[in-house]
Symmetry: C2
């Protein structure tokens, strides 16, 4: 198979209009993309699979919340203060860069230059003359001393974890400039990644476009719990657009300003994070890159069953682990290559401000290992901050089947005596006494008893008062609680649909042996944008009735098709649909108009069968619904041999 070329894939995606930069006639806007018909259908199929795999399978409560979010909500969630990246500006040109990306780019270029210099150094000829300064960000051969090289490598390994001032120091220390102009850079300043707007005509109500769908789900927690008959645990889910005003987006669909997310918020008892269906997944093997591996500077994941991972405390709890396994099942069902999928645990300093543990499903593509699904344990962070801010109780009240009975030392003050005796000091003393711990109360009781009914207490402010058993009662009391109240923890699997979509395209892309021009996208039928190509042999009018009839029957079966009755050769039309990833093709030829048979072609093997159209439609339906495979079909029906003509 030919080596992967991102340039030819990009050319294909453009030509077949999977997606394209938005507003290109107006010069385009970085980080904004439009999905054409195949991209849009692919996205819809991924979302449909997601809904079936997660929402339907686990009775999740799907909601659809507002994108425009008032300032207060995102101030409380922490996004107004902390959802920011560091940027630097070229002091002369005003050009703006995201600080970490700029450093990364420059240091990688220098390391490339070093590599080149070392390899050309061993070559006699042109070594000397190309040893010039780097220019326009292109790697030029300049050898680095080994200490500098090691330092660069260390910076790159830690690039996600620096604070703004640290990035500023790196820029100064390593003399990093605008790679295009060599212009000096300002100190890094924070840039909040939320798009800001104003709601209504007054201009006083500030709003942001949501950076995640999660907040809407948290704010509806109380209604959702009620909808779920107050049963725990349960999950809500949401599919929708979110927005990040990236400083300088790059990497195609992998870093965009507007994107579709699918997020699950699984609400769970913090004291019991077991999952009722964990047994169903426990034997699934995952490739885990945990903290310990990373802190040793290694990148090779451990492969082990998720059951074992929980046992060994590599993954904290069953619920988190259950979702990691379900995420893997989902991604591989879409067509993601399991060998190019790994789960990486966040280092403690790289987690989002709300997370207490987090694993990323990372998918490998030509851009490297990219986070496509995050699976974070957000603990009780969000429900707590919103509850504190608004006063709305976001808790679960659990009726205890066995009431909790416990004893406690309790202080009782006889106010009738206490008040008049201490007058203006009564409040201070009362506060002090009520703040005593059980142990302190036990000691006070002992002191009073041993001193014959009274003793002196010394307050932290220096005051002393005499207290006694005439107005203080200190006793062990028995309490019975029938209801337990708690704030649930949240396990959040969060899917970046565009990133998954792009990675998937890279994984299913290949070219036919011996002909690099003939590219194929081997989407599984369930996600393929179009399931079947319908091609008449030529644009001869006699084929039209059969094309109409078969397409109408396919529509009734809800099978999305593409009719190609253009004047191109059959071979050319097959190729074009291989590029769209259409798994099957029905071909209508002159024999069809006589005997009602048609051929069915499979994309990857290019094998065909020829049967009566009724049989072919039945077979196609089974194939599209993944009830059978092409291998089984080939066992049952004879291969139809016909040369593919170009």
């Amino acid at each position: 198979m030919a080596e992967f070329s991102r340039a030819s894939l990009e050319e294909l995606l453009k030509k077949r209009f999977f997606f394209a930069p938005s507003f290109s006639a107006y010069g385009g806007v970085a980080g904004l993309y439009d999905y054409g018909p195949p991209g849009c259908a692919l996205q819809a199929n991924i979302l449909d699979s997601w809904r079936k795999h997660f929402v339907l399978e686990e009775d999740m409560l799907e909601v659809d919340c507002s994108i425009m979010t008032p300032h207060d909500v995102l101030k409380t969630s922490g996004h107004v203060d902390k959802f920011a990246d560091w940027m630097v500006k070229d002091s002369q040109s005003g050009e703006i860069f995201r600080a970490d990306h700029l450093i990364e780019g420059v240091l990688e270029t220098r390391l490339d230059g070093d590599k080149k210099a070392r390899s050309t150094a061993t070559l006699p000829a042109t070594a000397g003359k190309s040893n010039t300064k780097k220019k326009k960000g292109k790697a030029v051969p300049v050898q680095l001393d080994s200490a500098t090289k090691a330092e660069y490598e260390e910076i790159l390994a830690k690039i996600d974890n620096y604070t703004g001032p640290e990035l500023g120091e790196i820029i100064k220390k390593h003399n990093i400039k605008n790679p295009e102009t060599d212009g000096d850079l300002t100190d890094p300043i924070e840039f909040n990644l939320m798009f800001e707007s104003s709601i209504g005509p007054t201009g006083y109500l500030k709003g942001y476009l949501r950076p995640e769908t999660a907040q809407g789900q948290f704010l509806n927690f109380k209604k959702l719990l009620e909808f779920n008959n107050d049963k725990m645990p349960f999950a809500s889910a949401s599919i929708g657009r979110s927005f990040r005003n990236e400083i300088s987006p790059r990497s195609g669909l992998l870093r965009v300003r507007e994107f579709v997310m699918a997020e699950i918020e699984h609400f769970v008892d913090p004291l019991n994070k077991d999952h009722p269906r964990f047994d169903e997944v426990k034997d699934i093997k995952l490739r885990l890159l945990d903290r310990s591996i990373q802190s040793e500077g290694k990148t090779e994941p451990k492969e082990l069953t998720i059951g074992k991972a929980v046992e060994e405390k590599i993954v904290d709890n069953q619920t988190l682990a259950y979702f990691l396994a379900r995420i893997q099942l989902f991604l591989t069902k879409l067509g993601i290559n399991p060998q190019r999928l790994r789960f990486r645990q966040h280092m403690s300093n790289e987690m989002a401000h709300y997370a207490c543990d987090c694993w990323d499903a990372e998918i490998q593509s030509s851009y490297g290992w990219i986070e496509c699904v995050g699976c974070a344990d957000r603990s009780a962070y969000d429900l707590t901050v919103h509850s504190n801010r608004t006063g709305e109780k976001l808790v679960v009240r659990e009726s205890l089947s066995e009431p909790i009975i416990y004893e406690k030392t309790v202080l009782d003050i006889n106010k009738k005596i206490f008040g008049p005796r201490f007058r203006q000091n009564a409040k201070t003393l009362e506060t002090y006494l009520l703040g005593l711990s059980e142990a302190e109360l036990d000691k006070l009781k002992g002191d009073i008893k041993s001193n014959g009914g009274k003793t002196t207490v010394n307050l932290p402010n220096g005051d002393s008062y005499e207290v006694g058993s005439d107005f203080l009662t200190i006793e062990r009391q028995t309490f019975t609680e029938h209801v337990r109240e708690y704030t649930p923890n949240v396990i959040e699997p969060s899917f970046g649909i565009g990133r998954i979509l792009y990675s998937l395209i890279e994984h299913v892309h290949w070219t036919r042996e011996g002909d690099e021009q003939r590219a194929v996208l081997s989407f599984p039928p369930r996600v393929a944008p179009f399931k079947c190509l319908l091609v008449p042999l030529s644009n001869n009018a006699s084929f039209a009735p059969l094309v109409r009839d078969i397409s109408s029957r396919l529509r009734k079966l809800s099978i999305p098709i593409k009719v190609d009755d253009s004047s191109n050769s059959i071979g050319r039309r097959y190729s074009r649909n291989d590029e769209l990833g259409t798994p099957f093709a029905i071909t209508i030829d002159f024999q069809s108009t006589n005997d009602g048979t048609v051929t069915l072609r499979e994309r990857d093997s290019t094998q065909q069968i020829r049967e009566d159209v009724d049989v072919i439609l039945d077979v196609l339906k089974e194939l599209v619904e993944a009830n059978t495979t092409w291998e089984s079909v080939m066992e049952k029906y004879p291969t139809f041999v016909q040369q593919e003509l170009d």
Copy 2:
């Protein structure tokens, strides 16, 4: 049946979490709503039906474009200048109103007061004492003279059509004030309805949240035409959020700041707006409220077939008419009552700035007749303005099977003689001569001939020149054109999904005879949020395995269910799911655990059958997929009689 009460429906929708104001814990934001699980599923089912009815059925090219749109695009489309409403401000309190809505509210209140005054005037007792001034916007009985009454009614009839200054005059003339405070109002000023933001960190790239999905489709026209093998006509389609920063939203889901739209842009040859499938719909009857009916001040639509409507030129062309019929089929399939649906033609002064003809599908609800689908002929407006602005050619080039051959009188100037002879006047004279029509050229030729080879021409600026056959040739020439180039027209059916969703809920809402507390939402199975309720008779543990087994089988059939194993009575659980509009219920009782039979209950009739679970699942699948009806099921299986216990 009990009279419709919006208050009880709203209570139901809140209780069952169909939708709720967003951010209510933070005080809420007018015009923003979150959909809970039933609302979200209902919306998804409406969109799924839409996709099948339109996109799949007609091979439309679905795209998914960016919401964030740069200023230049919406400046060109006209939205920056014209997409605005008029607002007035209370000069003291600063409160802001949408001018037309305010006038409407105040005048309606005054007319109500007049009605009250007239009816109480005939009553002897309390008439006098309630004849006070209106207060806080509530109708108080003040009789109006008949001229004023007539004037108010005329203003209300035309309220959508006034300009800002006209609204200002009405406010002054009729002494309209802030109904809450009696405060004076400012003159109306324009408020643009687009949410504004800034793209990227520079602050220089202004963007807006799109007010419609259409622009993204227009900007991709060239790529879409190519994707469609350059074939015309074709349609693109898009489902997605759009945003309007309403001045003061009201009317629940009917006027919101953020909403899901589904839009079709059907690109068609301006010289041939026939539709190839028009025959399939021509006999469908529609209720049409055309311009002529409205201009007579009437509101009763004509009911006639769409074929007849095109014949009689009530609807301009087949394509527009085809979509009106298809819209009606779609809406009634969802469950919209056809008697509460009409198509109203826009008056020429109320059309959007881009439209040349427009029909609204209006659905009647307790809010009146509300536009839920617009079907506009946008002509070549959008493609032309974008093409002019960007220089990108947005045209169709049609190869003519028969070339067009025509003759034309053509002028040829011999520049070698012409230039030197007229020097600085050559340009002026040339422009004048090249601007002559064929008839003028013929006359000039005649003049030259009859004057012996020369004549004098008089230019509009007063100059005269002598011209002659020595440097001018005027001849009939034959032209042959093989390609026709044209800018397509666009027919745009545009669906407000939230408005359809809310209207549908009103149409399917009723209460059981004799018990107004027992409300039912009779959604057709295809759109019902949950298709089947699964209820064990009680929460006895012996039912659990069967519940698990049946729910897992229903999931495999992709039938969304709701399990209710709460401790409420069966009757109460049925009622709760009647309110969710769940069409069927499977009940598991003690007999089920013995003989494997379960009952299937139909929501509207409350009738039940009892059969083996395999039979019930088959029947359910057929019912959900609308392959059979409950009536047919009842003919085939005996009714199972069991009292519904509360």
